[in-house]
Amino acid sequence: MNHFWIILIGALVGSSCSILGCFLVLRKMSMIGDAISHSVLPGIVIAFLISGSRESLVMMFGAAAIGLVTVFLIQMFQNSGVQADASIGVVFTALFAVGVVLISLYTRQVDLDLDCVLYGEIAYAPWDTLHIGGQSIGPKAVWGVGASFLLNILVIGLFYKQFKISTFDPALAASLGIPVVFFHYLLMSLVSISTVASFESVGAILVVGMIIVPAATAYLLTDKLSRMIIISIVLSIVSSLLGYYVAYLLDASIGGTMVAVTGVLFIVALFFSPKHGVLIKKWSRKKVLQQN
């Protein structure tokens, strides 16, 4: 049963993150996803210190708030003349460092293991179960990550056309009266929430892989946004399955192997994609040369 739970958690983390990743990749904001996933750390710690528990809801709000602060700060620095990549680098490392300091300061009060925050420990997730009336209803992580997955599906599903047009052509979107800035921050809130829901399983660092890599891979495989989202979800489910199997064989970190598999799938797509693959491009170039 534990095998099933771990694979399910991995698949839910991947799906939840990669839906959002598709929009981040297309907005050329992959590094913002990276930034948010790190800078939510102080949010998690502060929420923990205030509430004194690891109950996910409080943490999600804390993290979502810090996630928005991150995006806001990055934007503000950029507007005041700092290079885009520099301002991302400054903001997320500074906030992440604050988080690390906070954890080390309050080690006694905070039941947060830094290793766990950074690398995650999906292997133990199945034992941390949720109970209703003394009855176990499955691991907490399944419910937390599942909820964030459903939230993403719901919000993106409801506002699909708004997200699409404000990603492709924000100027036209704004001229049509679509609140582009609102949807920008809505997307960032979802990224923050998904990150927090996922960090216990795969950790703050690897969650970036789940956000970006399946989406970037799907981008190579299709010419349609809706299909790109579906493919990225399928890829992250496959990565969870294969990753778990590899970890089982090698007795290695499960989160690590899952994200490593997404990387391998990306390389495969990069070379063998029927539409944008390196090989097909070479081959068609050769064909053109031969014809001439």
Partner: protein, 252 residues
């Protein structure tokens, strides 16, 4: 009958330097208007300020006698082609469908009727062959036509187009101008940011001369003169006078 567009005392500034200074004008219905002026004259900025895409310091804009908030559905916009990422995973039809979004409200999805409408718009710009072509596989001219079809799909009465003629082939240029004339004949008003002075006389019945301040707006034959152009472009304009019609060496 209210004017399609009335602008009063519009001033826009990035940092401290004004990009547009105290612009006031009115546009009558059914005119094809070229906005011309040197680089940095604020041509694109004017359109963006009118559409509230960038904040203005002072000024009032009325569209059909009402605020833009209430008249969005009657306004169409063609941004500069380079302003979007053409590697976006979508096809020509899908881009044109985006023109319908303004009529759909918050939650409605485009339906069959919107699709038919979009197909018709693509047909009008001669793109029916490329309906399902991935947009990165289109030539520059074809991409511009897709943008125009999208503006048609907005089904507006007042259009703003930002440099639709830049980087397009001759066939597309002809197709665009035919379309503009058609829009005009339907009583629609079109403002076009334009660079090529050699074609101004041929294409537009009105022109607006802009260089941070408004130099003039009115019928082309009255304003497209040596004096006015000299005033707009300053020293950067070279003219070779050939008696009746001035041949212009484009200042770009």
């Amino acid at each position: 009958m209210a004017f399609p567009l009335t602008v009063k005392n519009l001033t826009v500034a990035y940092q401290k330097k004004p990009v547009l200074e105290d612009i006031s004008f009115r546009v009558p219905e059914g005119k094809l208007i070229g906005i011309i002026g040197p680089n940095g004259a604020g041509k694109s900025t004017l359109i963006k300020a009118i559409l509230e895409l960038i904040p203005s310091i002072t000024g009032k804009v009325e569209i059909f006698g009402d605020s833009y908030k209430n008249t969005r559905k009657r306004v169409g916009y063609v941004p500069q082609r380079e302003s979007v990422d053409w590697d976006f995973p979508t096809d020509a039809l899908d881009v044109v469908m985006m023109g319908r979004y303004g009529h759909l409200g918050w939650f409605k999805r485009p339906d069959k009727k919107d699709k038919e409408y979009a197909l018709e718009c693509l047909d009008q710009v001669g793109m029916s062959k490329y309906v399902h072509r991935q947009i990165s596989q289109l030539s520059g001219g074809q991409q511009q036509r897709v943008f125009l079809a999208r503006a048609l799909a907005q089904d507006a009465q007042l259009y703003f187009m930002d440099e639709p003629f830049v980087g397009v082939d001759a066939a597309t240029e002809k197709a665009i101008i035919a379309l503009l004339i058609k829009l005009k004949s339907q009583g629609k008003t079109v403002l076009v940011v334009h660079h090529d002075l050699n074609t101004v006389k041929e294409y537009f019945d009105w022109i607006m001369l802009l260089n941070v301040k408004l130099v003039g707006i009115g019928p082309t034959e009255e304003l497209f003169t040596r004096d006015y152009l000299q005033k707009t472009y300053g020293g950067s304009l070279t003219m070779l006078d050939s008696n009746t019609s001035p041949i212009i060496v484009s200042p770009r």
